[in-house]
């Protein structure tokens, strides 16, 4: 069994209203040392693939087809083998 950890973040230049709203809230709450915050998504997937290569291929494919909106987002992932 494999575990994929997937991070999805905004491309630079794309407006991130969620990050903005959180940043404003933190400043109102006086967290002055937070200079920036960006909001993204995180997924953990367990895969029953036969090999690490296959698990990686599947992970890439689901990122491209479903999890990330490539118009606006980029993704990064790692795959590791875990006990069944």
């Amino acid at each position: 069994m494999y575990l994929a950890k997937i991070h999805i973040t905004h491309k630079a230049s794309i407006l991130d209203p969620q990050g903005e709203a959180i940043k404003n809230a933190l400043h109102r709450l006086d967290y002055q040392d937070v200079s920036n915050i960006t909001a993204g998504k995180y997924f953990e997937t367990t895969l029953t693939s036969d090999s690490k290569e296959q698990a990686e291929a599947t992970t890439r494919s689901i990122c491209e087809s479903l999890l990330a909106n490539q118009n606006m987002e980029t993704f990064l992932f790692t795959v590791e083998k875990v006990e069944d």
Binding site: P17, Q18, A21, I22, N24, A25, A39
Partner: protein, 227 residues
Amino acid sequence: MKFAVISFPGSNCDYDMYYAIKDALQEEVEMISCDETSLDGFDAALIPGGFSYGDYLRSGAIAKFANIIPALIEFANANKPVLGVCNGFQILTEIGLLPGALQHNKSMSFISQIEPLTVVNNETLFTNLYKKGQHINIPIAHGEGNYYCDDAQLAELKSNNQIVFTYDNNPNGSCADIAGITNQAGNVLGMMPHPERAVETILGSEEGLTLFQSILKSFKGELNRVN
């Protein structure tokens, strides 16, 4: 009786609530900003629906830091009526006046429709003019209305009679079909359906008005008891 409607940036049902009190219930009502710090002089506080601060992180999450919140908690602890509808319900759970949390609808999409509900508990200050077990139709409109709490909490809600409204055909995956609950003391009600959209026949239903009339009735009863 004097109502406060607490408006947050991004609230969009604040005026609906305001008009429900002013025009349909015909009682005194004032719109107050969440930047205020006091609820002095009010007999009931209403937290309307909408998308406070855009609801970008989690619905109600950012609203819990508004200036008015300590006053609201104090108001609730003084046993005065507090009603949160939709985003108002979400805010009440975020600030801990009500247990549990509201997750994404099971379908993951927004649902707007008229929803049949059952009045499970008609012994609250919000529901005393309904009959127990009465079926009412009230519109819902939410993306995150899937009520969640753990088993122990659910058992407690049941044994204290805190479940006030349930859905007849659970649209969003809420545990135990919960559409609305009160706190233990019974003076804080949170519900996803919008009673303020069902206060005139021309809008298709008056069955939400009964809720506001119940609040008024309890208030008057209380006044008589005190005098």
